[in-house]
Subunit: 189 residues, 2 copies
């Protein structure tokens, strides 16, 4: 029997490989393989909203179930910022984003933060399955290591007791927000 | 073992009884029994949006999983109207709503329409399960019968080959948009 098709709203080769391995009872299709050339605006107020916008927009073009994610860093003392603006917080890339967070937290003793990942499946019949995965920690006072990407180098994980910038991919994948979101959505697929 | 609690975002006694019977492996709690006194604005652009606003708002107050629905009539020749405005289409209640739809369709030969029901479960951990149920038919040229409510009396069901206004509750419940949404969401609960 042919596997059910599941379109992935990502161009990221790492994510495509990861999802193909995890959802091995589906035929995972990167949306760009369908000749779809849209980059839906991430105008939502939440990670869920953004993932839903992406998944729904692409599903309405290809008429297949689409899986999309959105994620970012939420810092308690900054009222959840940078949140949905994580990727574009400084407008100048990862290094400047990290500097901006560190500067905003200068002198702040509450350094609690979490990475959140929203993962949304949208089906052509209007079905929406959305989950959130979170991983908790604190914002360091300076960059540590150079593993991972984005805010990993200033995030000290309370699960593995080290900065994600110093963690191996395996260590991070055990406890990451995305891994936790994937684990949750698997129950519904 | 105690049943898992599931809060229902409805004050409607009929719905409360129906959901209690259908989701009999859950303890169904009408939200008003929790002393919650909110009526979230239905400001969404879709039935799904409105059901999600209701479910999420109430879940964030009571910290329990909440099930909410929103539904309405969508007329093809009216670009999907009255849609999310179904209940308040004329601002003057069911009779005037029906008159308004009939007046807008005067002389129109494409009378295709559907009732759509969005049903959304929101859990405190951010999980969203949303489904849509639809039932298809045509808009009559005049009111028939007086069973059901809302637009039932001008909707001719292609499933049961009669106007919902002439159908028994049992006949309507076999094919209704809400019955179909409930059937879908049961797979995920």
């Amino acid at each position: 029997m042919a596997k059910e098709k599941l379109v992935l709203a990502s161009k990221n080769k790492g994510k495509i490989r990861e999802f193909t391995e995890i959802f091995n009872n589906y035929e995972i299709i990167p949306y760009t393989d369908l000749g779809i050339d849209v980059d839906p605006d991430e105008t939502g107020e939440t990670f869920f909203d953004n993932a839903l916008i992406k998944a729904k927009t692409i599903s309405q073009i290809c008429n297949l179930p689409v899986l999309a994610d959105d994620s970012g860093l939420c810092v308690d003392a900054l009222g959840g910022a940078p949140g949905v603006y994580s990727a574009r917080f400084s407008g100048l890339g990862d290094d400047e984003n990290n500097k901006k967070v560190l500067a905003l937290l200068e002198g702040e003793t509450n350094r609690k933060a979490n990475f959140t990942c929203a993962l949304v499946l949208y089906k052509p019949d209007g079905t929406v399955i959305g989950v959130e995965g979170k991983t908790y920690g604190t914002i360091l006072h300076q960059v540590q290591g150079n593993n991972g990407f984005g805010y990993d180098v200033i995030f000290y994980s309370e699960d593995i007791n080290k900065c994600f910038g110093l963690a191996t991919p395996e260590e991070k994948n055990e406890v990451s927000h995305r891994a936790r979101a994937i684990k949750k959505i698997k129950q519904y697929l």
